[in-house]
């Protein structure tokens, strides 16, 4: 159990978190790890937050973790990183997409989006920042933001040796394979 790694992927409905978790866990299964994964997405299509937990190692029991147990938080949205930060281990890492999606109370002018989220993490934890939306836009499809972030996570977790291209070919719709492979690579290079 001691070698089990806990990854917490967080973001907002529509950001492709489910696919990110799927590609990531398929790669881990292919590499021979025992894997468990848990999703909460009941309200994902309605603008709520979405989380996926992935745990992998020799033998995994629980599909979920509690506060203070994540080795890595992959945040596709900044405020979500802050919302789930207490799940991070004191010596854990955050890989963060420097991108904000305002929630309903912010849109209506009732609340303001928290300032300086990135700075507030500095000195408290190991934080790696990716401008995944910019990279995806450069590649010509914002939808691959998720795969840029998966790429960054793979690098941060030292899992580059797995044949991720092969996994993407298996898990992604034919016409989006190339751009996703490219996105993953750009993500790996981004940190």
């Amino acid at each position: 159990m001691t070698n089990v790694k806990n990854v917490f992927i967080v973001g907002v409905g529509g950001q492709g978190i489910i696919l990110a978790g799927k590609v990531f866990s398929a790669g881990l299964v292919g590499a021979g790890y025992d894997v468990k994964m848990s999703e909460v997405h009941g309200m994902s299509q309605r603008g709520g937050n979405v989380t996926t937990q992935v745990r992998f190692g020799d033998k995994v029991y629980s599909p979920i973790i509690g506060k203070g147990e994540a080795h890595l938080i992959l945040a596709l949205e900044k405020m979500e990183a802050l919302r789930w930060a207490e799940y991070l281990k004191p010596d854990g890492k955050i890989v963060l997409n420097d991108f904000a999606v305002p929630s309903a109370p912010i849109l209506s002018g009732k609340a303001i989006y928290p300032e300086n989220i990135v700075d507030s993490f500095k000195g408290k934890t190991d934080i790696l920042i990716v401008k995944a939306n910019d990279i995806a836009e450069e590649l010509g499809n914002l939808k691959v933001t998720n795969m840029v972030m998966v790429g960054a996570m793979i690098k941060a977790l030292d899992l580059s040796h797995i044949d991720w291209d092969e996994i993407i070919r298996r898990e992604v719709k034919e016409k989006f394979i190339d751009i996703n492979i490219l996105a993953l690579k750009r993500g790996m290079e981004a940190i």
Binding site: M37, R46, S62, M79, E86
Partner: protein, 593 residues
């Protein structure tokens, strides 16, 4: 071969491997994907029933016919299906029958947190509780066998984390089970008082036999570790405890958790220094152990409310609290779900909300329940599926009898109307009520992720079928005033509501427009598929009055005193345009685009 599967996928696979041929369900998180996955297996007849009672009765029929059958539902669905459940326990089965209940500890997407393990004891039905995807598949197959061996329906009790977590599952082959020969057995399947009195005695005998089975089945096993701590545990909690204690504790892992193997547990208890019962929600196991004189520690330490996880178990039993990084979370803003951009419910509730002072809005369960939240706040009640119409009638009669002058509107979704709204509407017609029913016909079961229903014209498997016409149905039960409107047209909506304010008879308004996320069928594309161009705010005209913001559309933001429409999200429904008194919201490319 091993495959990464959710618990729900694994149950469907288990049903296929076990030779099931009849499956019926009504959707409900976290159970929905069981039937959605069954739909992929050609060998199984699978269907969406209008509600859980119907689903269970269909499965009972399948079983009496001699076929292995299942019904699945979320926890509250079993309340709806409780009537057939209790008597089916008396009659027993012919083909194996498994009832899957998916509970939702933590209420991720439910209106309550009831612990359906209590139903097993209450209805005297055996229960299995898988703790991961592999067990979900294996236990389903075991449950079918137990059902046939003991002539009883069996409950397979899942929870959100078992349903929605993925784990590796070893796949097997399908067992070819011929249907059992049909025999007329009136004494067995006709529950008249005379027959039921005989069945009642047999039920207790069967329960005794099941208790003996519980003692010997490998589904209930001991895992020895350190004997200082003994943990009695079932379901996903087992995985959590293993994570926390590893081999620093001994486990009594219950796979078959009703009836309990009390002798075997007694023996286990006598070998460990301290005995804990770790269970989510109710002290279901704990109370039975205490009644049997087995001393144990349970709810004194383990929370009664909400779902567990490894950290909570560690903290409860060892006092260990995991530290994290120290972040200032005070300014994190909630991210509540909202009605989608272009949701047809928005227009209806915007108009209805304007009348708040003169009306009561009894609500129901579905995406439209979001109308109770900011900024619409256009809903007064939501109890359970179907209650909008019946409770609305109760409100109306109470007001009438006590001279309170308020109009009642009951709002209900199409799927919910078919589920259990019709009977309430019959009651209004029969008992001369005058509450107005608004049926939000968005052509789909939205909340649970787009399942077909009796009004959509398609089946679970995507085949074309008869489409039940809501207007004709209402007419058929005697409603004379029926109006069908497009809820995205605010004028038309307001007119219908104004008319309803003064009627003294039952009235139905059908607000008909498809869910903005619905994948339209070809014939629907002709009716609704006219994509309209997006809208934008002409800032010179925007007065910053926030009227458009009050529609609660997630595409509209208020920035520096002006409204702003997010181009990537707007679908051009134009509700905001209709509420703007300054003509500031315009269509890209001009009107008519």
């Amino acid at each position: 071969m091993k495959e990464l599967m959710t618990g729900n996928e694994a149950v469907a696979r288990g049903a296929w491997e076990a030779g099931v041929t009849v499956a019926s369900a009504y959707p409900g998180t976290p159970s929905t994907e069981i039937l959605e996955n069954i739909a992929h297996y050609q060998e199984i007849y699978g269907e969406w029933a209008p509600n859980e009672k119907v689903a269970l009765e269909v499965a009972i029929g399948g079983s009496i016919a001699g076929a292995r059958s299942l019904a699945s539902m979320k926890h509250v669905g079993l309340n709806v299906a409780a009537d057939p459940l209790f008597t089916n326990a008396y009659t027993g089965i012919r083909g194996g029958l498994v009832i899957i209940t998916a509970d939702d500890p933590g209420m991720h997407s439910s209106q309550n947190e009831q612990d359906n393990r209590n139903y097993a004891k209450f209805a005297k039905i055996p229960m299995l509780e898988p703790s991961d995807s592999q067990e979900a598949k294996d236990f389903f197959i075991e449950a079918i066998k137990i059902s046939e061996e003991f002539d009883t329906p069996v409950i397979l009790r899942m929870t959100t984390r078992v349903c929605h977590s993925k784990g590796l599952v070893e796949l097997g082959e399908r067992e070819l089970i011929p249907i059992k020969e049909y025999k007329k057995e009136i004494n067995k399947y006709v529950a008249t008082p005379a027959n039921a009195k005989v069945m009642r005695v047999k039920l207790e005998e069967r329960l005794k036999n099941l208790a003996e089975y519980s003692e010997r089945t490998p589904l209930n096993r001991v895992e020895w570790g350190d004997k200082k701590i003994g943990i009695i545990i079932s379901g996903v909690s087992y995985q959590y405890a293993k994570e926390v204690f590893g081999d620093k504790a001994s486990y009594f892992k219950l796979g078959f958790s009703y009836p309990l193997p009390l002798d075997k547990i007694k023996a286990f208890a006598s070998e460990v220094e301290e005995l804990y019962v770790v269970e989510e929600l109710d002290p279901f196991i704990e109370e039975q152990l205490k009644a049997a004189g087995i001393q144990c520690i349970g709810k004194e330490k383990i929370p009664l409310i909400g779902e567990l996880n490894p950290a909570i178990i560690a903290q409860s039993l060892t006092g260990e609290i995991k530290s994290s990084i120290d972040c200032d979370m005070d300014n994190v803003v909630p991210r509540p779900p909202t009605m989608c951009s272009g949701c047809p419910h928005r227009g209806l509730f915007y108009v209805l909300g304007k009348k708040s002072r003169d009306i009561i809005i009894t609500g129901d369960i579905g995406c439209y329940t979001l109308a109770s939240a900011d900024p619409l706040r256009a809903m007064d009640t939501c109890i359970c599926m179907g209650a909008s119409i019946s409770a609305g009638h109760g409100v109306q009669k109470a007001f009438e009898k006590n001279n309170v002058d308020k109009k009642v509107f009951a709002v209900i979704g199409d799927s919910t109307f078919f589920h259990s709204g019709i009977t309430g509407l019959m009651n209004i017609v029969y008992n001369k009520g005058n509450a107005t029913t608004i049926i939000l016909d968005n052509r789909i079961t939205g909340m649970t992720g787009h399942q077909e229903n009796p009004g959509t014209g398609y089946t679970l498997k995507g085949e074309k079928t008869n489409m039940i016409d809501i207007a004709k149905l209402c007419e058929g039960i005697g409603v004379k005033k029926i109006k069908t409107i497009n809820p995205l047209n605010l004028e038309e909506t307001a007119e219908a509501i104004e008319e309803a304010m003064d009627v003294t008879e039952p009235m139905v308004i059908i607000a008909k427009w498809p869910c903005a996320l619905k994948r339209l069928w070809p014939e629907e594309k002709e009716l609704y598929g006219n994509t309209r161009s997006k809208l934008y705010v002409n800032e010179d005209r925007c007065s910053g009055c926030k009227a458009c913001i009050r529609t609660g559309c997630p595409s509209i933001a208020f920035i520096n005193g002006k409204a702003h429409i997010d181009d990537s999200m707007c679908v051009g429904c134009a509700v905001c345009q209709q509420v703007c008194r300054f003509g500031a919201i315009q269509r890209q490319g001009g009107e008519g685009q």
